[in-house]
């Protein structure tokens, strides 16, 4: 038996090496099949990650602290911020006031989904919105009566959801009248328009915290405290903050996700569907090329049988050969897809939903590899088993 396995390996390796161009072609096809089966799920995972990161980077932060259920504001916000910032590992924390507001420019009206008073210097450490100023500039602490507006509200042609006539059609320098939920009305000067290309912050507007406190008639409070911590450590820090005696409501970005959970679960379903179809195509492709390749080996199989090499060794040999094809294709495929995702990590895809970096989960690589390997085994085994059973005379002379 040991000798037979050695003979099978010997024949498989010699066969493979003798036809290097064919070997290269088959490996290329398997490699491309591998990439096509995994690229969809990589892109979808990239989208999901992008949406998650957008929530963290542009709107929510890692952890959002909200007032207790019956309260309007977080009390002693400055003290709490101080405590939070002193916890080792916390990257930044900032407070925000949140308003209900309608924005007007002459006869135009637009309702943003979020209107916030922010502390510009601290906000910049939590939120990356400042990096995406489409026009004008971000707020500074001494600004009064200045507003910066998201592109979805401001308009100007880059909106994802709104038609231009439903926006303010605002430009830097325009006067914007804001009517707040508490009845106050104020006029602001447009300092900047931002577009981070995510689905939330593009419909936000920001004023400085001093203006906000004046409008609300409060000070040292907050509607929200946004904290930034390393991704994946959120629940640990929530525990730490509670231990510090902060007894407000904590929401990590994942809690906030429930709003976009429908989108993400829809992506999940599409992903499963497309990956299944992709893997099935891979299965068929690999099976067919190995099958066709073996059809040219009938004479060789006949000769081997004639000189007394038994069916088992022959079947084993061609199965090993197609396992060599499969394994080479998988290795090349993993390298290629890793190279592609590495490239996208540096040069993300510029999509209408923001910058997306396709990313492969270990599980989808493993599933695709196993599927491919199994199909190469079956693709080699079935035809060689069938051929090895045929009559020698038919194999050699037909």
């Amino acid at each position: 038996m040991k000798g037979n396995l050695r003979l099978s390996f010997f024949l498989a390796v010699k066969n493979t090496l003798h036809q290097k161009p064919l070997f290269a072609l088959i490996v290329l096809i398997i490699t491309l099949s591998f990439v096509s089966a995994t690229i969809v799920s990589a892109t979808i995972l990239g989208f999901v990650n992008a949406l998650n990161n957008q929530i963290i980077d542009y709107s929510h932060g890692s952890i959002l602290i909200e007032p207790k259920e019956d309260a309007i504001f977080i009390d002693d916000a400055l003290e709490k911020l101080d405590k939070i910032r002193r916890v080792p590992g916390v990257i930044a924390a900032t407070r925000r006031y949140s308003f209900g507001a309608a924005l007007f420019k002459k006869d135009r009206e637009a309702a943003g989904f979020g209107f916030f008073g922010i502390d510009p210097l601290e906000e910049k450490k939590v939120s990356k919105v400042y990096r995406y100023m489409k026009q004008g500039e971000y707020l500074t602490p001494k600004d009064r009566g200045e507003i910066i507006i998201g592109s979805e509200v401001a308009g100007g042609g880059e909106q994802l959801w709104f038609a231009e006539e439903d926006t303010l059609s605002a430009r830097v320098g325009d006067k914007i009248r804001v009517s707040f939920a508490n009845g106050v009305e104020r006029e602001f000067h447009t300092k900047g328009i931002f577009n981070p290309r995510d689905i939330y912050s593009t419909s936000f507007s920001y004023i400085t915290i001093q203006d906000a406190e004046e409008i609300l008639g409060v000070s040292g409070k907050a509607s929200l405290i946004a904290v930034r911590v390393p991704k994946g450590t959120e629940s640990y820090y929530v525990k730490r903050f509670k231990e510090l005696g902060i007894n407000d409501v904590f929401k990590t970005w994942e809690d906030k996700l429930s709003t976009s959970a429908i989108v993400i679960s829809m992506f999940g379903t599409i992903n499963i569907l497309l990956s299944t179809v992709g893997l099935f195509i891979v299965f068929v492709t690999v099976f067919v090329i190995i099958y066709i390749n073996l059809a040219h080996k009938r004479r060789q199989i006949g000769i081997l049988k004639a000189i007394g090499i038994n069916e088992k060794v022959i079947t084993q040999s061609y199965t090993i050969q197609s396992m060599i094809y499969g394994a080479s294709g998988i290795i090349a495929g993993v390298i290629l897809i890793k190279a592609m995702t590495a490239y996208w990590a540096v040069h993300p895809l510029n999509t209408s939903l923001g910058f997306v970096t396709p990313e492969l989960s270990a599980s989808s690589i493993i599933i695709a590899s196993i599927m491919l390997f199994i199909s190469s085994i079956i693709g080699g085994y079935i035809p060689s088993f069938k051929a090895a059973k045929e009559d020698i005379i038919k194999l050699i002379w037909d």
């Binding site: 049988k305 000189i307 007394g308 090499i309 020698i392």
Partner: protein, 271 residues
């Protein structure tokens, strides 16, 4: 008399071509004796290859029985036949059926590898077999680097490596030039005489049968005659070759004259 090494009883082979039955052998009885060198002759399509395939266990008869060294091989499983081919039989095809991806040496030692011998053993045996067919200096050449005659020698070495009891060869020289043919036939004679190897060879060249012990003549799937130690003579009229046993003779002035046919003899008499 030496004992029979291969015996066939009432062998029939009918090929099915779609709905048509093509009878190729119609009840052949043969016995090949130990150490014998037998030629199988006959016109094209007479069933020579079919007979050799059956005797060498490459194909299954439609009916009849085959005994090899007294063992009835007719009802053997595929695996048993395979091991019989590996250990006891050697087969040489008309085309030099060696694997293009293996060197001469690798082609040669495949059957020894299959027997489970270790590397040093099968390499040694492979080299010996190549020496035997005068191919010792070509061991590491690929078939594409060898001439037809050399490739055929490799396939002979491969057939010999496991020291078979009998060697089958189906028109082994048909694709070779006359010099290569000649040296291959001499090689068979040498193996037969020096190693006592039993050889059964299909040929269509009457010339080839000079060196054999017996000739089995096939016609339309039946053995028409068996010639013992034939001597080949030349027809004195048309100068074609003729077996001594089948020759037509006329005596004139105390001298015997040999002819291939009654026609030639009559023409001679008319002179």
């Amino acid at each position: 008399m030496p004992k029979a090494i291969v015996e066939a009883k009432d062998l029939k082979k009918i090929y099915r071509m779609g709905k048509v039955d093509v009878p190729a052998l119609g009840g052949v009885n043969v016995d090949i004796r130990e150490g014998e060198y037998v030629a199988i002759m006959g016109p094209s399509g007479s069933g020579k290859s079919t007979l050799l395939h059956l005797l060498a266990l490459l194909d299954t008869p439609s009916s009849g029985r085959i005994f090899i060294e007294g063992t009835d091989v007719s009802d053997m499983s595929e695996d048993e036949k395979s091991s019989f081919r590996l250990n006891r039989l050697g087969y040489i095809f008309q085309e030099y059926n060696i694997l293009a991806e293996l060197t001469a040496l690798e082609n040669t030692y495949l059957p020894a590898m299959m027997q489970g011998k270790n590397k040093s053993e099968y390499t040694k045996l492979g080299r010996e077999a190549l020496e035997l067919v005068d191919m010792g200096d070509r061991a590491h050449h690929l078939p594409s680097e060898l001439s037809g005659g050399e490739q055929q020698r490799v396939s002979i070495a491969r057939a010999l490596i496991n020291k078979p009891r009998i060697l089958f060869a189906d028109e082994p020289t048909a694709n070779l030039d006359s010099r290569s043919s000649h040296s291959i036939l001499n090689l068979f004679r040498k193996l037969n005489k020096e190693l006592g190897l039993t050889v059964a060879m299909v040929t269509h060249e009457p010339e080839d049968t000079k060196i054999v012990d017996r000739v089995l003549n096939l016609k339309d799937g039946l053995i028409t005659n068996i010639l013992k130690s034939p001597t080949i003579l030349n027809c004195e009229h048309c100068n074609c070759k003729v077996y001594e046993d089948g020759a037509i003779t006329r005596t004139r002035e105390g001298k015997t004259h040999v002819f291939c046919s009654e026609n030639c003899a009559e023409s001679f008499e008319a002179e």
